[in-house]
Symmetry: D2
Subunit: 301 residues, 4 copies
């Protein structure tokens, strides 16, 4: 269960006290505020605050382009135009602040997105809880044989069971020893900043993460992608749902131009022109390597 | 007059429609929202949106430091502690979006603060208005004789009058010619992206500027400083007033530790220790250069 | 003439003194070091320093992917793979430092690329030179009638001549008055930080600009693009030539995947799949707006 | 032993082949290039490349301030002036690229410095080595009783021995199980991206880390500070030695103004003025809290 009763009580209290504001509000987001949406076995994502909406993107674009934006008759058309032409700054005018609970190995990947603000729970100051990510059996997969960085088929029953047994036992023992080392019961107690080094990467941490919409879209494009590791992808997918309700026009444009789109090379575009004219193009006549051709076929095939 | 009637009508309308929100609100900031505070002869600063308040800073800090922050009994004490120990990330959890109208030569200095989001009015797309900054007579000062980058005494009457005459006449002529070049009356009309090059640096531009509180404090420390150029300082001072009402504890800590504080070198600290013990320290015995000693005397003298 | 004799002498001296180093060097770049390549009428671009080469990109990638990169047999293949899959961090491991002289209105566009280091000549401290950009007659174009932000046809003779006359006369007068205001001959002399506001946006400034290769490619993709304003595009094109000699594999991949490539939406990809199968697709049956369809036709037509 | 024989052979080969370059070189740094300086039990720091030197800082400053820098007669004086007045951009004109091997819990702290380029060894792609940080007995300390985030006294013999025993045993078991899970001997083998979650935070990782000198100084000020955790401080101290040889003037100014200096609040400066005049100031009459007064006494006492 991702939320403690105290936590839930705090959320209930916050949700019970609407304030009056002159700021623009996004109705679709107000309904999500503070609610902790479960991700993985102990994690969650919840929205703490947000700034702006679809209209705020257009408002900022109209400051930049002035009368130049008059020709685009409505907000959705303008947002699609901005997305299509990589006018990224108006999307930076929206901001979101999330509270995320996630395993450390996911956090390590996530933090590589540098253009964001972060406050992470510090295991130097405080004691981590006994919460570890243990994959569901349907996610315990073998190393991919075709892709160095991915997983392939599911492990067969016996092997999967052994893996889960190891992960559970090692997590439990590591935490028992963590507690034993910091205990001040009959001993001095090891410094927390040292004791934490015994904890494995599937322990949960949490942070506040604040990011603008342009950089959030960049994060989502990489992490909600089918090639992303499952354990970070589920966070990205949960955030996608929130963003779809927050800025519906922008999210729809993002889906069409980024998530569902593809960047094609000059060579690939040349092949397309030939194919559209009826020419039969093969890998040999394409000018692409085998790997590129395989990826190209997945896009146009 | 910085605001057009249309602009004022838009502000009045926005201020007339409070929304209900579950987000945290800052009462001191709600009172300022949208109002255009005049700066210089045609400029202004107005708050378009904000995220967070003093409590949000503490909330983020408590995620990081967990039980470690329990010892600090109240929000103001915690904020002062964070500021004093350069724990900057909790301040990044607040965000503000401003609409600013400002002369181009001020904008050029301002934009050097890179950690911010900007949408500027584009003179490629749109036509700039005929608005130029002409200094008030009490700001028409001579080049400083002691400081390469500052101004010194006021220009005497006749010289000041000549300067103002030049600035007004050159601005007017530049704009007349700008209009003449882009006019499509009986001619094709020069492209705006080319015509704009004739406009001097005292013409007004405008932008949306969005920044987190940590980076805003950095901006304010440099630009509200007595050594900053007057024309950017007045913007910074206006923003200071808004921030003081938005996050009163954080602003007070900023005033004490940053604006009113000073960074002293190891050499300077050594001198202070000797002086406190009663030793007479002079520039010669201080280990400082003449310039450093003069600055040091201004701090401790 | 972009270079003063003193400047040229300094370059000649620097080029006459090769040093011994253990760092990796790029032969193609050593030949360009310090040379000021002219751009526009008074501008230039010259390389002051660089870090890394094609091999450095691969070296960094191999730290990340370890044995995972063994399957790609050579450096060029690896670099193409990295570029195709948006693995941007290895490209950040190369860095370049340029000295650029450019008109202020170009500098204002350029500086919007925030992930770079800049030292610009300061007109608060120092006096600007009498150098203004005056377009060549073949670049004096009318406002585009189809594109709010671009130029269209060339101005006809008489109109172009009038434009050039205005730009020259206004530049000369503005500079005369700038000099008159700061002169300390028989008067106090206006502070430089004030006098600079009289100078138009076609005056030249200069800066040192340091950027990593990933962010430089992003800059070049936008600014060497056919839709970029001519006056910044010529700088980008000059830099492209330098980069092609510095990191030839990376530059070639950039040309294929970025400059010559295109990002297509999900809707566009669907149309391509239908067209490849022989279906006749029109704007009406495409699901695209007229504007999108026109752009799509330019890519695949 | 931090370096494998293959690694050492690669370094020896690189050091045996000096190249000719026209770039500026720093003699003090050339002597360090590639050499892996050991840190902790298995870690190291080594310089892969660098850009610029003390002269490059001054060169960039002179572009900015033009004739304004003439009054400062020499490079060292100019660098001290820049450091004292927070003119940070000239320091950004130097860049360094390091190869660092470090425990994961140190890497997690380090990566919070966002303005840097990083390529980290990926445990999704590749298999981590069996190398764990085990503290030396003289660093096995208890939780501080006065500071929530630090360590206090050394653990007594028996307790320290138990801690080391736990860390060694848990590391070994975790790695045995990691190997067992990914093994493809008689089973499919768990995906690496999953198996890595079993590894504790004292396992070693490695990365290339590239940063400009301004941001490196910021890192060093925080991480070479006496309050930093010992395990990251030793890396910072090793880097300090390299920087001292690379840019000696800048490093000396950094030591005086940053490492050895202190930022005092307005309240503290007021106390100093009173104390210098001979007044007896106590915590009660200082206007400071007890915590602030204690820190103040450490600075001036």
């Amino acid at each position: 269960m991702p939320l403690s009763p105290e936590h839930q009580a705090e959320i209930d209290e916050l949700r019970a006290r609407p304030q009056s504001t002159l700021r623009s509000t996004a109705a679709g987001m107000e309904g999500h505020l503070y609610t902790a949406y479960p991700v993985l076995d102990h994690g969650f994502v919840r929205v703490i605050d947000y700034m702006g909406d679809d209209a705020a993107i257009c408002q900022a674009a109209r400051v930049s382009y002035g009368r130049g934006t008059k020709s685009v008759s409505n907000d959705e058309g303008l947002i699609r135009y901005l997305m299509r032409h990589w006018h990224s700054t108006p999307f930076e005018m929206c901001e979101i602040k999330l509270h995320v609970k996630l395993p450390v190995f996911v956090a390590r990947q996530w933090i590589r997105h540098r253009t964001a603000n972060v406050n992470e729970y510090s295991a130097r100051y405080s004691i981590l809880d006994r919460e570890f990510y243990i994959p569901a059996p349907e996610h315990v997969a073998a190393q991919s044989t075709v892709n160095n960085q991915g997983r392939g088929e599911l492990l067969e029953g016996g092997e999967a069971a052994r893996v889960l047994e190891i992960l559970k036992a090692d997590s439990a023992r590591a935490y028992d020893n963590y507690e034993a080392m910091i205990s001040q019961d009959g001993q001095q107690g090891l410094a927390r900043e040292l004791a934490r080094m015994n904890l494995p990467a599937n322990i949960y941490t949490q942070w506040y993460w604040k990011v603008d919409l342009h950089n959030l879209f960049h994060f989502l494009r990489l992490r909600a992608d089918a090639h992303a590791q499952y354990e970070i992808r589920v966070y990205a997918e949960e955030i996608c749902k929130l963003v779809a309700d927050w800025v519906p026009f922008a999210y729809k444009a993002f889906e069409d131009y980024r998530m569902g789109g593809a960047t094609l090379s000059a060579t690939a575009l040349d092949c397309i022109r030939r194919m559209v004219k009826g020419e039969e193009v093969t890998q040999e006549t394409s000018g692409m390597s085998k790997g590129e051709w395989r990826e190209f076929m997945q896009v146009v095939g």
